[in-house]
């Protein structure tokens, strides 16, 4: 394995600080790992939400892990375009979310033109990740982190978090 691939492999193992069942690669936040001519590792990451407060922690974790692996010089860059989409969460990531009792996002809405106002339930409610019941109800479009909504299952009565489609 060459140095670039080795650096990429280290970066891919770094976990998301807020949803540690996912690696940054599974979450789709890790966009690129390059080795420049001078031996510096350049890692590109993108925020899930603009205000994501975990970006600094992700940066620090990436730098720390890569240094541990022998890459002394690491630069972490932000990529804003194209914006992160929940569609970028890998199959492995979706399975890890379900395993942890979270509901994985459905397909992100694809829109052209003005975005229609939604005054009713925004989308069909996801099934309960615990009992599988389809009888679930939205509690709030906003949850403990920017990327999650809160639901409640009326079958097993348990609340659960759903990673939002964006």
């Amino acid at each position: 394995m060459n140095a670039r691939d080795r650096a990429a492999e280290v970066a891919r193992q770094v976990r998301d600080p807020e949803m540690p069942m996912l690696t940054l690669a599974d979450l789709g936040v890790l966009r690129d790992v390059e080795l420049d001519g001078g031996g510096e590792v350049v890692v590109s990451i993108t925020p899930t939400y603009t205000g994501c407060p975990a970006m600094a922690t992700m940066r620090d974790d990436l730098v720390h892990r890569l240094r541990e692996a022998g890459f002394d010089r690491v630069e972490v860059r932000i990529v804003l375009d194209p914006p992160w989409s929940s569609d970028w969460i890998s199959e492995r990531g979706r399975a890890a979310l379900r395993e942890a009792g979270l509901s994985a996002p459905g397909p992100a809405p694809r829109r052209t033109g003005p975005i229609p106002l939604t005054l009713g339930p925004a989308r069909s409610a996801p099934p309960c990740p615990r009992c599988g019941s389809a009888a679930t109800r939205l509690t709030s479009e906003f949850g403990a982190t920017a990327c999650k909504a809160l639901y409640r299952c009326t079958g097993c009565q348990e609340p659960f978090e759903h990673v939002k489609e964006i």
């Binding site: 994501c52 972490v76 804003l80 194209p82 906003f142």
Partner: protein, 301 residues
């Protein structure tokens, strides 16, 4: 699950975060775009987001229930993120907009803009700064703000400035949630109890005079908010129709002695927040937001 991090001090490196939210982003001003105009435009949108975010964050622990508390905090955070990028973009386009700080101060440009400008240097709409009221007040404020901001960001996705276009593309996804949250609560309060409807109508009456400012003409670089009037009206009228609430008449806040909330007559005649003419509510907001940063102009956070 996090045992692997135990004793790992680097895991706790909060506060050493990204000094620059545009780290590694190409901030070259595109050919044909005037850097000063681009900076002024980004400052206007960034100030809207920053001041609105500050007002929303004041709701923390005060909302009617936990879910709505979390919702308001999330929206404040989204807007803070937009503000950081937009202020950083303004500073990168035209460093002349950044207030001077003591030599050697480590304060990044976005923080200098947020914490070291006075009220008359802010370019936010007054709708963002007026004091908080009850829950109906924040619902109406967010509805008016988000409908206009969403329409503007939708257009800015094709801005010739790639940074602004990227911020807009991301912001559209976030503000869609804010707008729809506000629209649903507007409907709920309108069709709830007599009391909830009374409060909603009171809030609408108090805030509507500030709505026009969101669509005030802007010349120079960027999408002119005045051109959004049609699509903004379509959405607002949809909410009013479904809720059975009458659309208020259009009277600017400075007309016929109508005093803005918290007004003390300091407003310039005909001036708006876009000109730096603010209500008396902005200065105390800034005093609270800026006091720590100003006490330590060479502090490292």
């Amino acid at each position: 699950m996090n045992d692997e991090y135990a004793g790992d001090s680097s895991q706790w490196a909060f506060g050493t975060g990204f000094e620059d939210p545009l780290a590694g982003v190409d901030t070259t001003v595109p050919q044909g775009v005037d850097p000063a105009e681009l900076a002024a435009y980004c400052l206007m949108l960034g100030d809207d987001a920053l001041i609105m975010s500050q007002r929303l964050s004041e709701w923390c622990s005060r909302a009617p229930d936990l879910e709505e508390d979390i919702a308001l905090a999330n929206m404040a955070l989204d807007l803070l993120g937009q503000a950081r990028l937009l202020l950083a973009r303004a500073a990168a386009a035209d460093p002349g907009v950044v207030p001077a700080l003591p030599e050697g101060s480590p304060v990044p440009a976005e923080d200098a803009l947020a914490f070291f400008r006075d009220a008359e240097q802010f370019r936010n709409v007054r709708l963002a700064e007026v004091e908080n009221g009850d829950f109906a007040h924040v619902v109406v404020r967010l509805l008016l703000f988000s409908v206009a901001r969403l329409a503007l960001l939708e257009r800015l996705r094709t801005s010739p400035d790639q940074v602004l276009a990227a911020v807009a593309a991301k912001g559209v996804k976030e503000i869609t949630y804010h707008r729809d949250w506000a629209g649903r609560w507007f409907l709920t309060l309108a069709q709830g109890t007599e009391e909830s409807r009374r409060r909603l109508e009171t809030a609408l009456e108090a805030l509507w005079p500030y709505q026009a400012e969101l669509l005030a003409p802007h010349t120079g670089f960027g999408v002119d908010p005045a051109t959004l009037r049609g699509e903004v009206d379509v959405v607002l009228d949809q909410v009013f129709a479904v809720s059975g609430v009458e659309r208020p008449g259009d009277a600017p806040p400075s007309d016929a002695g109508r005093e803005p909330i918290g007004g003390t007559g300091r407003e310039l005649p005909g001036g708006t927040g876009r000109d730096g003419a603010h209500t008396a509510a902005l200065a105390p907001l800034l005093a609270e937001m800026q006091v720590v940063a100003r006490a330590h102009p060479s502090g490292r956070w």
